[in-house]
C-alpha cells in the first residue's frame, strides 16, 4: 500500500463500524502494551518499592536509581557492543551467502542440484536447540568456544532464508536475464546489476528478521560463552538476576535497554518490513 493511499484513507469520515473497530483495537493494544508499561514503571521505582506487597502500577517516588546503578555496576556497554558486533556480522554474512545460494538454486543448473536442495531443506529442522550438544562439541574442537566467531558462524547457515530467497528468485521473469545475457553480460554481472536490485525488499526483510533473531538469540551465546566480557545483551541481562538475587527494578531497566533498540528500528521501518514480508512471497504464496 502506498503512502498516498494511506493518507487519503485517513481523511475518510468516522463510520460507526470504524468507531467500534478502533475502540476494540485500542483495548487490545492496551493489553499488549501493559507488560512493557509495567516494566517501564517498575524500572522507575526503588528496589524496595518494586518488591512491595501489594504491588501498584505507578511508582510513588519516581527515581532513575535502577537505570543508573545498572549502568555503573554492570557491563551493559560491553554487552551492547558484543550484541551489535555479533548481530551485524551475522546479518551481513547471512545476506551474502543466502542471496548467492538462493539464486544458485533458483537459476543455475548442475548435477545433483535437487539432491543438494533436499539436504539444505532438511537443515530447516536442525537448530542449536535440536543439536545443541554435538554442535557445541564441534565448535569446541575448532577452538571457537569463547570467541566472537564461535558465536557468529553457527548462526550463519539458515536454510530458511535460502528457501525464502530461492522462492523469490524463481519468480523473477527469465526474459530479464536472457536479454542481458544476449547483450554479453556474464552471470555475476546479471546477478549484481539486475537480480539484486529487484530483490531489495526481500533482502531487506531477510536482513531485518535475521538481525532480530540474532540480537535476541539467547540459547547459543549462552552455550558457547563462559567469559562475562563476551556476553550479549540477552545473556548479560539474564545474569543480573542470577548474581545478586532478583533486583526487579534493575532487571526491568536492563530488559528495556536490551529491547528498545529494535523497537525504535521497527517504528521507523515498519512499512518496509510489512512490504518486505509481502514481497518475499512468504505471505502471498
Amino acid at each position: 500500500m502506498s503512502a498516498t493511499q494511506v493518507r487519503l484513507k485517513t481523511r475518510k469520515p468516522w463510520t460507526p463500524s470504524q468507531i467500534v473497530l478502533t475502540l476494540i483495537g485500542a483495548a487490545v493494544s492496551v493489553v499488549f502494551m501493559a507488560p512493557i508499561a509495567a516494566a517501564l514503571f517498575t524500572s522507575l521505582k526503588s528496589e524496595a518499592e518494586a518488591a512491595e506487597i501489594p504491588p501498584h502500577w505507578l511508582p510513588k517516588v519516581w527515581t532513575t536509581q535502577a537505570w543508573k546503578s545498572l549502568w555503573e555496576t554492570g557491563n551493559v556497554g560491553n554487552w551492547f557492543v558484543n550484541s551489535l558486533v555479533v548481530s551485524v556480522c551475522v546479518t551481513t554474512i547471512v545476506l551474502i551467502v543466502s542471496a548467492l545460494a538462493g539464486y544458485g538454486f533458483a537459476r543455475t543448473e548442475f548435477r545433483g542440484k535437487s539432491l543438494l536442495m533436499g539436504v539444505v531443506m532438511s537443515g530447516l529442522m536442525v537448530s542449536p536447540a535440536v543439536l545443541g550438544v554435538p554442535l557445541f562439541t564441534t565448535v569446541q574442537q575448532m577452538g571457537m568456544v569463547d570467541t566472537y566467531w564461535g558465536m557468529i558462524l553457527p548462526q550463519c547457515a539458515p536454510a530458511a532464508m535460502v528457501y525464502i530467497l530461492y522462492k523469490f528468485f524463481q519468480g523473477i521473469p527469465r526474459e530479464l536475464e536472457e536479454a542481458a545475457f544476449i547483450d554479453g553480460a556474464g552471470r555475476w554481472r546479471v546477478f549484481f546489476t539486475i537480480v539484486v536490485p529487484l530483490a531489495r525488499p526481500s533482502l531487506a526483510a531477510v536482513g531485518i528478521f535475521t538481525f532480530i533473531a540474532s540480537w535476541n538469540n539467547f540459547l547459543w551465546p549462552y552455550m558457547v560463552t563462559n567469559n562475562p566480557d563476551l556476553m550479549t545483551m540477552p545473556n548479560g541481562i539474564a545474569t543480573v538476576m542470577n548474581s545478586y538475587g532478583i533486583q526487579w527494578a534493575q532487571l526491568m531497566a536492563g530488559g528495556l535497554m536490551a529491547g528498545l533498540p529494535l523497537i525504535v528500528v521497527f517504528v521507523f521501518f515498519q512499512r518496509q518490513i510489512v512490504a518486505g514480508v509481502a514481497h518475499t512471497g512468504l505471505a502471498g504464496q
Binding site: 494511506v6 543455475t108 548442475f110 554442535l135 536454510a159 539467547f218 530488559g255 515498519q270
Partner: protein, 312 residues
C-alpha cells in the same frame, strides 16, 4: 564436485556430442557451484557435520572433554527410551505445542483482521501487536516472571487473583504459554497482515456487487485466500514450539519448574550434556529429537500433498 568426478570417469574416447553437453553442464555447475559454495561450506560445517557427529557420539559414552570415549552400541538409545524423565520432558514440549499452536494461529488472524480493517493509525496497531516480538526472549520472560510472581506481581493484583502461577505445577506451564502467546504472536500477525494486503481488492468489489455481505466475503474470499499462509503459520509454530527452551528456563529461574513440570525436551538434553557431562547420552536424545521433528515435517508435507490431490 560430483560432476567433475564423473567427467573424469567418462572414458577418454567419449562422443563429441556429449562432450559439448558436458562443457555446458560444467559451466552451469561452475556458476551454480560458486553461487552456492559459501553457504554450503557454512552449512556443511555447522549443520551437516554436527548432525553426523551427533550420530557417532550417540553410540559412545563420550563425556564433555571428548576424550576416552568408547563405543557402546545402542545402549544410549535403549536407556533413553526407558528413561521416564525423557518421556516426561517430551510430554511437556508436546503439551506446550498443543496449547500454543491453535491459540497463536487464531489470535494472529484476529489481530491481523483488526489491524487491516481499522483505517486510522495503522502504524500504531502494527507497532503494538508486533513490539513484544522485538524483545529478547529473556526480557519477555523476565517481565512475565515478575508479573506472575505471587504477592508482588501485577497480574494477580490487576485481576484480583491469588494464583501461584510459577510455583504450582498445574499453573506453571500455563504461565509459560501466556507469556509465549504475548511474546511471539506478532510474527504470525505480520505474515497474516501481509497476506491480507495481497488479496486483490476487486474480488471484494465483485462480491459486493453480487450482494455478498461481510460474513460471506469472509467465508468465501478471505479465508480461502489465506489457506496457504495458515498452513505456513501452523508449520512454523509447531517447529518453533517443539523447541521450547528460553522462556521456560528463564521464568523458572534456570530450573525445571515446580516438580519438574516445565522441563522441556531441549532443556533435559542440555542438562544431560552440560550439567551431567553425558555427551554421548545427550547426543542420542538429540538424534531422537531430530527424528521426531523430521517426522512432523514430513507428515505435514504428506498431508499437504494428499490435500492438493484431493482438490484437483
Amino acid at each position: 564436485m560430483t560432476t567433475s568426478a564423473q567427467t573424469v570417469a567418462v572414458p577418454a574416447r567419449a562422443k563429441t556430442a556429449t562432450a559439448a553437453a558436458t562443457v555446458r553442464r560444467k559451466q552451469g555447475f561452475q556458476h551454480g557451484g560458486w553461487f552456492i559454495a559459501p553457504f554450503l561450506a557454512l552449512f556443511a560445517v555447522f549443520v551437516v557435520w554436527p548432525l553426523l557427529r551427533g550420530v557417532w557420539l550417540s553410540f559412545t559414552d563420550a563425556n564433555i572433554s571428548g576424550e576416552g570415549a568408547s563405543f557402546v552400541g545402542l545402549d544410549n538409545y535403549r536407556e533413553a527410551l526407558n528413561d521416564q524423565a525423557m518421556w516426561d520432558a517430551l510430554g511437556h514440549s508436546a503439551y506446550f505445542t498443543l496449547l500454543v499452536v491453535p491459540c497463536i494461529t487464531l489470535l494472529a488472524f484476529l489481530l491481523a483482521m483488526l489491524a487491516h480493517h481499522i483505517e486510522r493509525g495503522k502504524w500504531l496497531w502494527r507497532l503494538c501487536f508486533f513490539a513484544p516480538f522485538l524483545l529478547p526472549s529473556t526480557v519477555a520472560a523476565n517481565m512475565w516472571q515478575w508479573l506472575f510472581t505471587q504477592g508482588i506481581g501485577l497480574f494477580n493484583e490487576t485481576f484480583g487473583l491469588d494464583t501461584p502461577w510459577l510455583t504450582d505445577k498445574s499453573y506453571a506451564m500455563l504461565a509459560i504459554v501466556i507469556t509465549t502467546l504475548w511474546w511471539t504472536v506478532g510474527f504470525s500477525f505480520l505474515l497474516y497482515l501481509a497476506a491480507l494486503q495481497g488479496i486483490p481488492g476487486h474480488l471484494y468489489e465483485a462480491a459486493k456487487l453480487d450482494g455478498a455481505n461481510a460474513w460471506h466475503r469472509m467465508v468465501h474470499i478471505t479465508l480461502p485466500m489465506l489457506r496457504n499462509i495458515t498452513g505456513l503459520v501452523i508449520a512454523l509454530q509447531i517447529l518453533a514450539s517443539l523447541q521450547l527452551f528460553d522462556q521456560a528456563v528463564v521464568m523458572m529461574d534456570f530450573g525445571p519448574g515446580p516438580e519438574l513440570s516445565t522441563r522441556s525436551f531441549v532443556q533435559y538434553t542440555l542438562e544431560q550434556g552440560f550439567t551431567a557431562y553425558r555427551v554421548g547420552y545427550a547426543s542420542a536424545m538429540s538424534i531422537i529429537f531430530f527424528v521426531i521433528i523430521a517426522a512432523v515435517a514430513l507428515g505435514r508435507m504428506a498431508l499437504l500433498r494428499t490435500r492438493e490431490e484431493g482438490t484437483r
